[in-house]
Amino acid sequence: MSVPHKVGSVKSKQVSSFVMQDEEEGLDTAEGEEWMQGKTLVKPPDQLDLTEAELNEEITRVLKASNPNAPQNVVRYSFKEGCYKPIVFVDQMAIHFELEGNLVHKDSDEGRRLMAKQAEVDDGGGDERPDNVAIKAGKREQKLTNQFNFNERASQTLNNAPRDISCQTEPPPRANFSATANQWEIYDFYVEELQRREKSKEKHEGQFLNKEEDKSKKKMIQAETQNDDISQLAKVVKIIERMVNQNIFDDVAQDFMYFEDASDEFRGEKGTLLPLWTFQYDKAKSLSVTALCWNHKYNDLFAVGLGSHEFTQQGGGMLLFYTLKNPSYPEFIFNTASGVMCLDIHEHLSYLVAVGLYDGCVAVYNLKKKTDQPIYNSRASSGKHTSAVMQVKWQKDDLDSNHNFISVSADGRVVSWTLVKHELVFTDIIKLPVIDTIPDDLNDVIPTVGTSLDFHKQKDYSFLVGTEHGKIHKGSKYYSSKFLEKYDAHFMNVTRVRWNPFHPDVFISCGWDWMVKIWDQTMKSPVFTFELKTSVTDVAWAPYSSTVFAAVTTDGKVHVFDLNINKYEALCQQKVVSKKTKLFNIEFNPVHPIIIVGDDRGHVTSLKLSPNLRKKPKEKKGQDLPKGPEVEIAKMEQLLSSLR
């Protein structure tokens, strides 16, 4: 097909054919082979099939500088001419690509503005922060310092001068050690070890049974240590208790030690008894004091036996030990099955206490032991008294150095008890003679009630027994069939008979017939007789003087006599307990000038003797002291001789 072309395009045709020829030539030259391989004619399906002639036909193409897309027939309305006119000159520019640049001329407005901004940013880093807002507000164009708030000030603290300090610790201690490691050494050591292990195994097996015991022992020991702790505390508590008591009864303690009644000088012969402490125990309220005894070793300790004198009111009994250091609570408390009637503390072994009970038992308590059971009790023994034991007295140890004591009871027997190992062995000493009024065949049935017993201080085989019928019998331990002497002392019950501590022949007795009688054992009739208006329940000699004694009566009075001063009258008759309280016992303290009296309320009152009552006649100074007992004896003798 021939396409109509514009003239002047021969060159272009040639160019186009030339291009085509180039293509073909290109195929043959340079990279011909590769192209040759890939040159298989691939016809697109919509290609025009042209004949060769048509293919050889040369067609001219023309390139123009006009935009083929630009409209060629743009028409504009012309207002001047009033009609549409074609615009000849159409814009032929075709924009293929557009890119806006970001470069600004530096002299333009925007350029200058930008430059100013840049400068601002560079300077802005050095300003103070707090004023930044103000600064920024005020420094759009220029850096202004805020004169009101902004102040720059710098200072430098003092830097301490650097110092060098060095320290050297002690190096860990070193020791030297040396040994040799040989085969035989090793072997020996192993053998030893094995032997040791075998031994320990055997021990273990043997001790397996013991282990449990050990454990229990350990527990015991632990418990004991715990107990020990408590008991150690108990010691401390005891001391504190005593201190507290001393503080409470401070005035009493002062009186006890130092007070001497000055008014005695004005009273002539008379003396007074100053009440000191009162000892009472709550649980003993219903019981009455039946026996008192001072401890010889510890002069502030005394024993109180509690029971009942009434036949109809028998209950339990108590044995209490008080000390003057602690008046508010007893040191030792023992409960007995029946009322305590009498007690005695061993002279040398002050922890042994013999007690006679209303039911006829005798018991021995050991204060050292913690138990509150007697170590000996005559309950089971055959020689037990069948009736109340009225008096017990310790004796010297017998030939086998066994302790022994003697008791007299309402069944009329005087029995000696020996502490052999774990039991009491009795020996009848003597039987009290039956009074004449009882027919002979009833001799064994109706006994003579022995009420009091006392042993001679020096000749301790000689003793006195007082009876219910008012007789006093003097006997000897060596004569078991008969009494040596009989004194018709009182009309009624003899409540107490006591030897004089100094004079070997003198003894005193008292009874319910209101009488106190002093006897010389060689004479049948009393040397002195005193009537005290009521039943006399107890009488005691003073340990410091052979002529002083005190008696207590059922009207609550204590009578103190000093025969050396006044042979007929008491130096002191003082009521020491409240109304209707009977006094039953009196004892002098062996060392201190105090006496204790027991009443039927279970109270024990301690009283201090005023100086008048304790007078020792001083004949010549320097002569008195060494001759104490002899002077006493002489004194007594003087008195007696005047009456014989």
């Binding site: 050690f177 040396s178 490691a181 040989n182 050591f189 192993y190 094995l194």
Partner: protein, 106 residues
């Protein structure tokens, strides 16, 4: 034959009986002692043929645990005299014929 057999058995017994680790002398505190002993036993069992490696292992472990610097000697026949820091010495036997001495001295 039987006797030698018995002899061998006895030896074996001895070996069995005596191969437990046995401390000959030490002044270490309880924990350190136990740990060191365990360590030695482990090391000796691991390097039964090579004393040097066993010693090396023990020394390094002790250094790490208890601080430097430790010294270890393992052998069957030797004598020694050493200065050691107090409460840092262990001298023990192991395996019936092996002796191990471990001490610290910086």
């Amino acid at each position: 034959m039987a006797e030698t057999g018995d002899g061998k058995k006895e030896d074996a017994d001895y070996k069995r009986l005596q191969s437990f680790p046995l401390i000959r002398h030490t002044d270490m505190p309880e924990e350190m002692r136990v740990e060191a002993m365990e360590l030695c036993v482990t090391a000796c069992e691991k390097f039964a043929s090579n004393n040097e490696s066993a010693a090396k292992m023990i020394k390094e472990s002790m250094d790490k645990k208890f601080g430097s610097s430790w010294h270890v000697v393992i052998g069957e026949g030797f004598g020694f005299e050493v200065s050691h820091e107090v409460r840092n010495l262990l001298y023990m036997f192991f395996g019936g014929s092996l002796a191990v001495c471990v001490w610290k001295c910086s």
